[in-house]
C-alpha cells in the first residue's frame, strides 16, 4: 500500500514538471503545418471536415512539394477564444510552424491574430469569416481561403430585390459573423430601395426560436433573411417549418444555413434560397472529382468546410511548388501565395489585396436535400476590405 502511494505521489509530482519536457522534435526537412481547429464540441464537425480536405489536397499534390514532407501539429481549440493566443503562440514559437491553419470560430480567429500578425509564419484562415481578419486587422502574413462574412450575404440583397421583396426581417445570432452578415445584406438591399423592417439578434448560442418566429409571423414581411450555422441552422429551419412560416414567407439565408445540415433538416429545408461561394452540386470537373475522392477516402460526403480546407491545401502546395520547395524566405512565400490562382472545386479564385478570396457567389436553392445552383449571383466578388492598408 505504501509503495502504491509512493508511486502515485511520484506520478503526481512529476506532472508538475511535465510542461517543461518539450514534445517531439521535428525533422528539419518537413514543412510544419500547425492546425488549430475545433475537434470537439459544437464546431467539431467543421474542424474535422476542414482538416480532411486540407490533408487530401496536400496528399494529391505531393508532387508539388519538391520532396518536402508535411508534418501536422494538430490542436483542438475547443472553439474557446481565450485559449487561442496560447495555442497560437505554441505553434508559432514551440513548433515553429511554417503555416498555421485555423480557425473555424471568429472569436478564436481574433485571439490567433493577436499573436500571429506580422510574425514569421503564415496564417491561413480556412473558415472564420470575421470581417477584421482581412479588414482593419489585415496583415501580410494572414490569408483567408474561405470568405469574409460580407461576401456571401451581400449579393442576397440584390436577389431579394429582383424577387420583388420590399420589406424584409433579418435575424441572426448576436455575434460578429452574424451581425456582419446582416449588415452586408442590408447594405445591398437598402441601396436598391428595400427596407429592413426589423433586425432580430438572438443571444448566442440560444436556439429557442419560437418566440422570435411568432413575432416575425405577426409582422408578416415579404421575406426573411437569416444567418445561422450548424446546430442552430438545423433548429431554425425546422422551427420555421413547424410553425407554418415556410411556404408563406420566403426564407433567404447566407449559405451556411443549409451547409452540412440538410440531412438533419430533412424536408423543412426544401426551397430555401441561399447565397454562398460554393455548392455541393456545382457541376465542374474539379468539384465532381473532389467529391468522389473525398467520399471514397473518408466515407462521408464532403461539404463546404472540406472544400475550404482543400483549397488551403492547394494554396500551400502551389506556393511551395512555385518556390521549388524553399519556403524560408517569408517575403517570397507571401508573394507566391498572393499571386496564386487556386483551382478550387468552387471555381478558380484569386486573392484580393487584403488576402481574401475574390470569388463567385452562387445563388442556390434546396431541392431534394441538395443545394442546387440556380445562377451566379455575383461573379468574382471581392470583399471591400474596409480598413485594410495593404
Amino acid at each position: 500500500m505504501l509503495k502504491f502511494n509512493t508511486l502515485r505521489t511520484a506520478v503526481a509530482a512529476s506532472l508538475a514538471t511535465l510542461t517543461l519536457s518539450a514534445p517531439v522534435l521535428a525533422s528539419q526537412d518537413s514543412i510544419k503545418v500547425g492546425v488549430m481547429l475545433p475537434f470537439s464540441g459544437v464546431y467539431g464537425a467543421l474542424g474535422d471536415a476542414t482538416r480532411n480536405g486540407m490533408k487530401m489536397a496536400l496528399q494529391e499534390n505531393a508532387a508539388q512539394l519538391h520532396g518536402r514532407k508535411i508534418e501536422y501539429i494538430e490542436i483542438d481549440t475547443e472553439a474557446r477564444p481565450e485559449r487561442a493566443p496560447e495555442i497560437a503562440s505554441s505553434l508559432l514559437s514551440n513548433s515553429e510552424a511554417d503555416f498555421i491553419i485555423g480557425p473555424v470560430h471568429s472569436g478564436v480567429a481574433m485571439g490567433m491574430l493577436k499573436v500571429l500578425r506580422g510574425k514569421d509564419t503564415v496564417m491561413i484562415v480556412p473558415n472564420a469569416g470575421a470581417g477584421p481578419v482581412t479588414g482593419p486587422l489585415c496583415s501580410p502574413n494572414v490569408f483567408r481561403t474561405s470568405f469574409s462574412s460580407w461576401q456571401p450575404s451581400y449579393p442576397m440583397g440584390k436577389v431579394a430585390l429582383d424577387k420583388g421583396y420590399k420589406k424584409v426581417v433579418t435575424m441572426s445570432w448576436n455575434y460578429g459573423m452574424g451581425k456582419e452578415s446582416l449588415d452586408a445584406f442590408e447594405e445591398s438591399f437598402t441601396a436598391g430601395g428595400g427596407e429592413v423592417v426589423k433586425k432580430i439578434l438572438v443571444p448566442f448560442p440560444k436556439t429557442e426560436f419560437q418566440a422570435y418566429l411568432s413575432e416575425i409571423a405577426s409582422i408578416n414581411p415579404d421575406a426573411v433573411f437569416v444567418f445561422f450555422a450548424g446546430g442552430g441552422a438545423v433548429k431554425f429551419v425546422k422551427d420555421y417549418d413547424a410553425l407554418g412560416l415556410k411556404g408563406k414567407i420566403p426564407l433567404l439565408g447566407s449559405g451556411f444555413l443549409t451547409e452540412g445540415t440538410l440531412e438533419a433538416q430533412g424536408n423543412s429545408a426544401e426551397g430555401i434560397l441561399t447565397t454562398l461561394h460554393y455548392a455541393d452540386t456545382l457541376d465542374n470537373d474539379l468539384n465532381n472529382k473532389f467529391r468522389a475522392s473525398y467520399k471514397e477516402q473518408f466515407g462521408k460526403s464532403s461539404d463546404i468546410y472540406a472544400v475550404q480546407g482543400y483549397d488551403t491545401g492547394l494554396m500551400i502546395a502551389s506556393a511551395v511548388n512555385e518556390l521549388k520547395g524553399d519556403i524560408s524566405d517569408q517575403k517570397a512565400l507571401i508573394k507566391a501565395l498572393e499571386t496564386t490562382t487556386v483551382n478550387s472545386p468552387r471555381g478558380d479564385f484569386t486573392f484580393s489585396a487584403a488576402h481574401n478570396p475574390v470569388q463567385n457567389i452562387y445563388l442556390r436553392t434546396v431541392e431534394n436535400g441538395e443545394n442546387k445552383v440556380l445562377e451566379i449571383a455575383s461573379p468574382a466578388l471581392a470583399d471591400p476590405g474596409r480598413g485594410c492598408k495593404l
Binding site: 459544437v42 419560437q210 418566440a211 413575432e215 405577426s218 413547424a242 438533419a264
Partner: protein, 287 residues
C-alpha cells in the same frame, strides 16, 4: 404587442416551460432525495437525444426508439449510481460537482466517438406531423402540443407517484430522514439507485421527445443544464412542485424577454433567479 401575438407567445412560453420541467424534474428529484447535485444531468439529456436519433435511424419507429432509449437510460442510471455516485453520499457538494464535471467530459467524448460531431435531426413522427393554424401565418405543430401534454402527464404521474404510492412515501421519507427509512427495513441504497435511475431516465426522455423539434448537436446538454439549474433553484431544490412552477416561470420569462427586452434576454432568467433567491434564499417551494 397585440392580443393574438401575446397569446401565441404565452403558448410558446408554456410549452418551453413544460419541456424545461421535464428535464429539471429529474435533477430536482435526485437532489431532493439523495442530496446529490448532478451536473451531468444535461449530458443525459444529450444522450437521450442521440439514442433517439440512433434508433430511429435503425428501427424507423419513433415510439419504439423512445422506449428503447428510456430503458437504456435506466440502465445507465443504475450503473452510474452503483459505480460512482454511491461513493459520494457522505461527501460534500464540492466532490459531487467535480465528479459530475468529470462525467460531462466522459459523456461528451463518448458522444463524439460514437456518433461524430455533425448536427443531426429526427423527423417528427408521421402521426403527429400535422399542425393547427393559429393566425394567418402562424401554425402550431401537433407534435409540440403532444409534447406539452406529455410533460403535463408526466408531472401528474410524478405527483401521484410521490403522494400516493409506496415508493413515493419512501421518497418523501428519504428526503426528510434517511435513518427513518432504514428503520422501516428498507435498504436506502436500493431506493437511491431507483431514484437516480428515474432521474436519468427523465432527462433522457426529455432528450428523446425534444429530438424531433431541435437539432442534435454536441454540447446540447450543457446549455440546457444551466437553464435547468435556474429552474431547480428558483423552485427550491428538491421540490417537484417548485420545479413545475419555476419551469413555467422561466419559460415565460425567457419567451417574453426575447421579444420585449432582446438586449438583455439571456440575462433575464438569471436576474429573476437572483431576485427570487434574495427574497427567498431557499427558492419558492423549499421544504
Amino acid at each position: 404587442m397585440d392580443t393574438s401575438l401575446f397569446l401565441v407567445q404565452l403558448i410558446n412560453g408554456l410549452q418551453y416551460g413544460l419541456l424545461l420541467f421535464l428535464i429539471a424534474s429529474g435533477l430536482t428529484l435526485v437532489f431532493g432525495v439523495m442530496g446529490i447535485l448532478n451536473l451531468a444531468h444535461g449530458s443525459m439529456y444529450m444522450v437521450g437525444a442521440y439514442l433517439a436519433w440512433y434508433f430511429v435511424e435503425h428501427t424507423g419507429s419513433f415510439a419504439l426508439s423512445a422506449i428503447i432509449s428510456a430503458v437504456i437510460a435506466l440502465i445507465i442510471g443504475v450503473v452510474v449510481e452503483r459505480t460512482l455516485i454511491r461513493q459520494l453520499y457522505r461527501r460534500n457538494h464540492l466532490d459531487q460537482v467535480l465528479l459530475t464535471i468529470g462525467m460531462i467530459f466522459v459523456f461528451n467524448a463518448l458522444q463524439s466517438l460514437l456518433w461524430g460531431n455533425d448536427p443531426l435531426g429526427v423527423a417528427v413522427p408521421a402521426a403527429l406531423s400535422s399542425a393547427v393554424p393559429l393566425t394567418d401565418v402562424l401554425e402550431y405543430p401537433v407534435y409540440r402540443i403532444f409534447v406539452a401534454l406529455l410533460c403535463i402527464a408526466i408531472a401528474v404521474v410524478m405527483y401521484f407517484m410521490i403522494n400516493k404510492t409506496r415508493l413515493g412515501m419512501l421518497i418523501r421519507a428519504g428526503e426528510s430522514n434517511r435513518e427513518m427509512v432504514e428503520c422501516l427495513g428498507i435498504d436506502i441504497r436500493q431506493l437511491y439507485t431507483i431514484v437516480f435511475a428515474i432521474g436519468v431516465m427523465l432527462a433522457a426522455v426529455a432528450g428523446v421527445v425534444a429530438a424531433p423539434m431541435s437539432s442534435i448537436v454536441p454540447g446540447m446538454g450543457e446549455h440546457i443544464l444551466i437553464t435547468c439549474f435556474v429552474v431547480v433553484v428558483i423552485g427550491g431544490m428538491g421540490s417537484i412542485k417548485g420545479a413545475f412552477v419555476a419551469a413555467l416561470l422561466v419559460g415565460l420569462v425567457d419567451t417574453f424577454a426575447s421579444v420585449l427586452v432582446p438586449q438583455m434576454s439571456s440575462m433575464m432568467i438569471y436576474i429573476v433567479m437572483a431576485f427570487i433567491l434574495l427574497i427567498k434564499p431557499q427558492g419558492l417551494f423549499s421544504s
